[in-house]
Homo-oligomer: 505 residues x 2
């Protein structure tokens, strides 16, 4: 065939510098021979091969002079996944049919899938063979109460099997996870410090924020280095018993990262997938004992105690099958925790609790102690009746603070979190009692002010539910790194002033 | 706020000449103020406003010099839908939350939706407020047997209501539709000619091929003009009783066009959505009487008589509620119909039947007469026992042929379909009886040869099931407009020689 070997036609790869997040996109000229002869249509799936790698990309057809003849442009995600260098040669094909889509269709039609079927689906998902619409159909078909417990177990196992898996010397390996974090609920650094100080092993990997104003990795990054390689993590954990690293460099349950992105776009609360998502990450990270933080409140992810109970039942059943020891702590999710919302502001709260400062946020301290007690109890180090006391002792003695400093030193040195240059105080316009703090709107306001990309940006809350305020009291402070972003957040606030509400009295 | 009025920041629109089919895509520089201050992330949804129009687009972030500062690039679909000119000003915002997604989630969780909920979903779909993943979740949630008959009725009504609706003087207004066409099943031009000649009104709008080697509009385009405006259609229909136009210029049930694209990507057979899709188009086109052609065969869309019966039940129930008179003709779908597969090749078959040529394909003639008889009967013009005879008389008298010529003249003149320059004959390698012709593989081969974009390209079948062939007989001919494309199709054929199979004897 003219110009092509086998089926494919060879084209020179060009990096276009277009960020499409996780979506590999291929750009071809309308008049390119391969587009015509293969009958590729815009937005169809195309297999892109190099000598060493192969991906499925979505095709966009260029009708202008953005691309020279004989070249194929690639988005950043496609470029990364193929590990390309400029000028390398690509060969394009129609993708092979994805056989596991038959199982997705069966699930859509209401069938119960077995372990092998979940495995084939998840392997194809991780190999990038699914289009977003196909991922969405799978997510929708597994949502609501559509997965049996057996299916949740199969799905979890398939997700673990499709990625890397860490192993650690000894046991127990402790871990924690928060389901649908409240803004400011930054207990993890405190819990790890207490657990490590108690002599436990807690190699904690955390994510960056995806839709929230801060993730644990964003917060820790204002205090120390978090992008540790696996060897560095091992070194830190061997020396200090714990670490606080960003989990993104290891490929743990990569299917979860792919599915979670689609679930977020759909805003679907799938209990089965939530359980598989959390537990697959934990098993892949090599954890043996896990404490789950489950805040319940009207603007939190889990909205009622009944929902918390059902979800807990799934967690326990699946964890049991996978051999994970599990403790679930159902807590109050009616308002943000701590004062700061945003990476550096939350880091200050964490430092303040660890340093046992007199004005440290009591709710953050209390929640962290509660979860740390869960860790001590689950590990067997403490009994139920004195676990909180043990955790408190570890914190109040300064042991947790010194352990935290040593962990940060081992990760590359402890630093002070940055401060924002621009502030705006929101004053109370009348006297009253605080009767509502909206988790979602508070998070939104912090993000509009620049969090998490601007590390110092965010919100500082000065009141909590039930507080009595007078006219002119400061309710909260907006922090931003530029006057434009401050104004932008305030514009939102003026349109949505009900972030904090007072009772009518 | 610096640089922006209200929320938005103003940017100059640039047409990038990137074809993304239906998907509006917005390209912004990473360092643009709006991307930073609005916190837009790649692949998030952005509302793009001009003074007169507003769309939701998917954002891609440009990190290279493809875009100059202060500019926003747009894909062709976005450009078209905003009706832009170069240099016009755009204002960008976060999109408003799409409230109807709550109904989609309810459907995913298994709820039954009411008329108002379907209406809100479909209106948002048509307004472009749904991302593809959200469309996919809706499609998946409605697939299998998940829609009740009441829901199918609600969905159909919502789809009709969300687009334009044609009205015609008098009644009945006849229409036909084929469910999952076999390759070559090009009966529509013949049926319209017979119906119009019988004095009926049949203002037929047809689609172009989406995944098949030819749609009726593609075939008719090789014979006459098909992109008629509504006024032109009316003029042709008033004069000749019928027309054969492309339906794309009128906005009839636009939700259907959007949903069908996602259904195809998922390869989900949703009976409820098929019924809503077909009947919403018919009601919107102003039709009162509809004949449905439902071929049944192992490689056709409807694969068994049981499936045909269930589907027919839905069709009759929903059509009844909508006040449509309906006749369903379940026919043989075991092999392609006629000889040609591809726009011009099928047009030749149509002309040959209309002209009553002695070697006209008997199966196409017979199928067209059967469906035309259904039209005559449903309209009340003929009784069941003599409807086929009436249709045959209309065809054999030359009346249908002369009516067809006049319709084409009214649409802009009848022309001869083009012929391909390159041919390849596939010979039988042995003696035997034809025992299989694969609809899907035959369609694939015709598409690889260039159909439907290359009008003269496609396949000419020389045998039918049960034919006795000798070694050296021609089984079929591949037609192409370039030697490269011919070779490309043949490469596929060499890898998949079982398009036509002979019994082992």
């Amino acid at each position: 065939m003219s110009g092509g070997g086998e089926h494919g036609i060879r084209l020179e790869a060009v990096r276009l510098g277009i960020d499409t997040r996780h979506e590999p996109v291929l750009f071809l000229r309308r008049d390119s021979e391969v587009a015509r002869s293969e009958g590729f249509q815009a937005m169809s799936q195309v297999r892109v091969d190099t000598d060493t790698a192969s991906i499925i990309a979505t095709l966009m057809i260029v009708e202008s002079e953005l691309l020279r003849a004989g070249r194929a442009g690639l988005s950043e995600a496609a470029w990364r996944r193929l590990g390309l260098e400029d000028g390398e040669t690509l060969v394009l094909h129609h993708p092979r049919p994805v056989d596991s889509l038959a199982h997705v269709r069966a699930k859509v039609y209401g069938a119960e899938l077995d372990a092998g079927q979940f495995e084939r689906i998840i392997n194809d998902v991780v190999a990038g063979r699914y289009m977003d619409v196909q991922l969405a159909a799978f997510v929708a078909a597994c949502s609501g109460e559509r997965l049996t417990r057996e299916e949740i177990v199969h799905l979890t196992r398939a997700m673990v099997g499709a990625g890397e898996r860490l192993t650690w010397a000894g046991s127990p390996i402790m871990d924690k996870h928060s389901v649908g974090g409240l803004p400011g609920n930054r207990t993890t650094p405190i819990v790890v410090a207490i657990a490590a100080e108690a002599g436990l092993t807690m190699p904690k990997t955390s994510s960056r924020a995806i839709t929230s104003p801060a993730g644990t990795a964003d917060t820790m990054e204002t205090l120390t280095r978090v992008d540790l390689g696996l060897d560095e993590m091992r070194r830190v954990v061997e020396r200090e018993g714990g670490c606080l690293a960003w989990g993104g460099s290891a490929s743990l349950s990569p299917a979860d990262d792919i599915l979670i992105r689609v679930e977020r776009a759909l805003d679907l609360d799938s209990e089965g997938q939530l359980v598989a998502s959390v537990l697959s990450k934990k098993v892949a990270a090599g954890s043996t004992h896990v404490v789950i933080d489950m805040p319940v409140g009207p603007t939190a992810k889990v909205r009622s105690l009944a929902a918390a109970e059902r979800l807990s039942g799934h967690f326990h059943a699946v964890a049991g099958t996978l051999g994970l020891a599990l403790h679930i702590d159902v807590g109050d999710g009616s308002q943000p925790i701590g004062r700061g919302i945003g990476p550096a502001l939350e880091a200050r709260d964490v430092l303040s609790v660890l340093r046992c400062e007199p004005d440290a946020p009591a709710d953050l301290r209390q929640r962290a102690l509660q979860l740390a007690a869960g860790i001590l109890r689950l590990s067997g180090l403490a009994r139920a009746e004195d676990a909180v006391a043990r955790a408190t002792e570890m914190l109040d003695s300064g042991g947790a603070w010194s352990r935290f400093q040593r962990i940060c030193e081992a990760q590359g040195g402890l630093r002070e979190p940055p401060r924002a240059a621009y502030h705006y105080d929101v004053f109370s316009e009348r006297e009253g009692t605080v009767d509502g703090i909206d988790n979602r709107k508070a998070a939104r306001l912090a993000k509009l002010a620049g969090a998490p990309a601007d590390k110092a940006a965010g919100l500082g809350l000065c009141v909590r539910l039930g507080d009595r305020v007078r006219r002119g009291d400061v309710l909260m402070t907006v922090h931003a790194e530029s006057p434009g972003e401050l104004e932008y957040a305030l514009e939102y606030f003026r349109a949505h002033p009900d972030v904090i509400t007072l009772s009518a009295d």
